[in-house]
């Protein structure tokens, strides 16, 4: 009996220690900083494109009425948007939009990152809530990346903030932080959730079992950018791509964690998402999924690459004494 209690206690302590290490062990901001650059660029582009039809999407006489978007969200006050508070003036709409682009640019560059990261998340959600009906996977990934980049110290690397810090004579880079670890872990786990449900959802479909699903993507003219109809002569290839896709998605959340399988899982992400990007015309979605996968790249890999270039993640040239 005493042995069982001791075992339970030891088991519980192991869990606590593992949890503590997983979430709170301070870590370098190198990966998170690069994630901020990539995700920030995508946020900036996404919102720039919204601006091509500002009145059409967000104006009071646009094709998506505020009434519709509120109804879509069950009139929940928590599905908020600053566009609901604007009076419909095209000039005000334009000015607010330009301000949003300025904030997103600052976030991308890492200027006042502590504040612009939070604003970037709020902007992303606000635009998305008002443009409900015209959204897709890109917006879902954009939003959670923006949220987690606001949680972590994403301005501690590859940022103007860091450059200014050096100009002010603060030679040492920021110390590793626990909130950076939390941010990276949240991105990693959320990516696992995305792939798991994407895969499990597909398992309801017959075409993912009989190997024909990829044909459904290739033969869709509205998505198609590359002509893939020649695949009709290679049904085995359609089957193979279908089975590999579903197998990879369903197994991702398990196989991406162990050191041995992680590189293979991440390498597989590249052709899969580049295929979506350039074969199906969803370049932004394919790229943002690769950005999310980047959260699994250890900062020491990035630092090693940068070191070979003669720089460190804070832009300083490395001294020969290392």
């Amino acid at each position: 009996m005493i042995g069982s209690i001791q075992w339970l206690r030891s088991y519980f302590e192991s869990w606590c220690a593992g949890w503590d290490r997983f979430w709170f062990q301070p870590s370098s901001a190198t990966t998170l900083g690069l994630l901020r650059v990539f995700a920030g660029a995508m946020l900036l582009y996404t919102h720039f494109v919204w601006g091509l039809g500002l009145d059409k999407w967000f104006g009071p006489s646009g094709q998506l009425s505020a009434e519709f978007t509120k109804q879509f969200h069950g009139r929940s006050p928590f599905a908020w948007s600053h566009f609901y508070w604007l009076d419909g003036s095209p000039t005000l709409l334009f000015v607010i939009h330009i301000l949003a682009l300025v904030v997103l640019s600052m976030f991308f560059l890492g200027v006042f990152t502590r504040y612009t990261s939070i604003l970037a998340f709020l902007i992303t959600v606000s635009y998305a809530n008002r443009a409900t009906g015209a959204l897709f996977g890109l917006d879902q990934i954009n939003a959670f990346l923006a949220l987690y980049l606001a949680v972590g110290a994403s301005g501690d690397a590859f940022s103007v903030d860091q450059w200014i810090r050096r100009l002010r004579g603060k030679a040492t880079p920021p110390s590793p932080k626990s909130n950076t670890t939390i941010a990276i872990r949240l991105i990693q786990l959320h990516m696992c959730v995305v792939y798991l449900f994407a895969g499990l959802g597909k398992l309801q479909g017959e075409s993912w079992w009989n190997g024909e699903a990829f044909w459904g993507a290739a033969a869709n003219q509205e998505y198609q950018t590359l002509n893939l109809l020649w695949l009709v002569h290679y049904p085995w290839l359609v089957n193979l791509i279908t089975h590999v896709t579903i197998g990879w998605e369903v197994s991702y959340s398990a196989l991406v964690w162990p050191k041995l399988t992680r590189p293979l899982v991440l390498l597989m992400a590249i052709p899969l998402h580049l295929g979506i990007a350039f074969g199906m015309g969803m370049i932004t979605f394919g790229v943002i999924m690769l950005v999310g996968n980047f959260a699994f790249v250890p900062p020491q890999w990035i630092e090693a690459v940068i070191s070979k270039l003669g720089l460190n993640s804070h832009g300083k040239e490395e001294s020969n004494s290392g």
Binding site: A143, G205, P299
Partner: protein, 280 residues
């Protein structure tokens, strides 16, 4: 001793090291340790192993658990099929899910990659002529992301218009109510009450779906009319059926008529009437 322990605990676990030992002070990955340590002065060596106070870590852990629960329950609860348990659980945290924009199913190309849906419109001009167009349009809507926004809107328009007509729904509800009446009289009152609540819920949902359909298609119609300065409009949802491999082998093309299924989803007029020949 404390200094030695700090050096040993200096490790970067960014790589999600599942082979890590339970002892947080054990550092098997010395290469990672040295990589991170090389960026630190000796005076900073403590910061790598410094931790937030335990009470902060406990509070953060609770917040993280709550957040992860919401991240997982949202796709579990929708879209259908989903269990009533998951839907009820998601409903309890709906404010957080909405505020953090977590309410997604991630069912990309699931259950099966399906056909695309476009919008075709016919606009009656003031002079009696008719302008037609298709939405989205790759030539007009550029860059690709802009085209995709319009594409998603056309899919939404098809989705919201895919509800049964009012009279069909009403007769279905009537049939269900008769069944509930029989259950109440001959079987179980509680079961009948629960079924009645479900019918009322479905009626509310149908009413909301009708409102959404009207909201979206009306504003879309009005916008198109404004752009073309027309007097009346008809909107069609056009399903572009996926050609099968056999179709392609037999020489079919995307543009072939058999792959385009069109249905009228909305009509709007600012007073003008379609000429008789347009009704045929």
């Amino acid at each position: 001793m404390a200094k030695k322990m700090n050096k040993k605990s200096r490790r970067n676990i960014q790589g999600g090291d599942l082979e890590a030992h339970p002892d947080p002070n054990h550092a098997p990955n010395r290469e990672a340790d040295s990589t991170v340590a090389s960026n630190l002065d000796e005076s900073d060596s403590k910061t790598l192993s410094s931790r937030w106070p335990i009470w902060i870590r406990v509070v953060c852990s609770l917040v993280l658990l709550f957040h992860l629960f919401c991240v997982i329950i949202a796709p579990l609860a929708g879209p259908p099929p989903s269990s009533s348990l998951s839907r009820n659980a998601a409903a309890t945290v709906d404010p957080y899910i909405q505020a953090m924009f977590l309410g997604h199913g991630y069912r990309f190309f699931a259950p099966n990659p399906g056909p695309s849906h476009l919008i075709e419109y016919e606009i009656l001009n003031a002079d009696g002529s008719v302008t037609t167009g298709r939405y989205p349009d790759r030539d007009e809507h550029w860059p690709r992301l802009y085209y995709h926004r319009h594409f998603m809107l056309s899919e939404t328009a098809n989705s919201v218009s895919n509800i049964p007509p009012q009279d069909e729904f009403a007769s279905q509800v009537e049939a269900r109510k008769e069944e509930v009446q029989i259950i109440e009289e001959e079987f179980d009152l509680e079961v009948a009450k629960r079924l009645e609540r479900e019918i009322r819920s479905d009626e509310e949902t149908f009413a909301q779906q009708q409102e959404m359909k009207e909201s979206l298609l009306l504003t879309l119609s009005q916008r198109l009319l404004d752009e073309h300065q027309g007097a009346a409009i008809r909107l069609y949802s056009v399903e572009h059926v996926l050609p099968s491999p056999l179709d392609i082998e037999l020489g079919a093309k995307f543009e072939d008529e058999e792959f385009w299924l069109k249905r009228l989803i909305y009509e709007f007029s600012s007073g003008a009437e379609w000429p008789m020949e347009e009704l045929e």
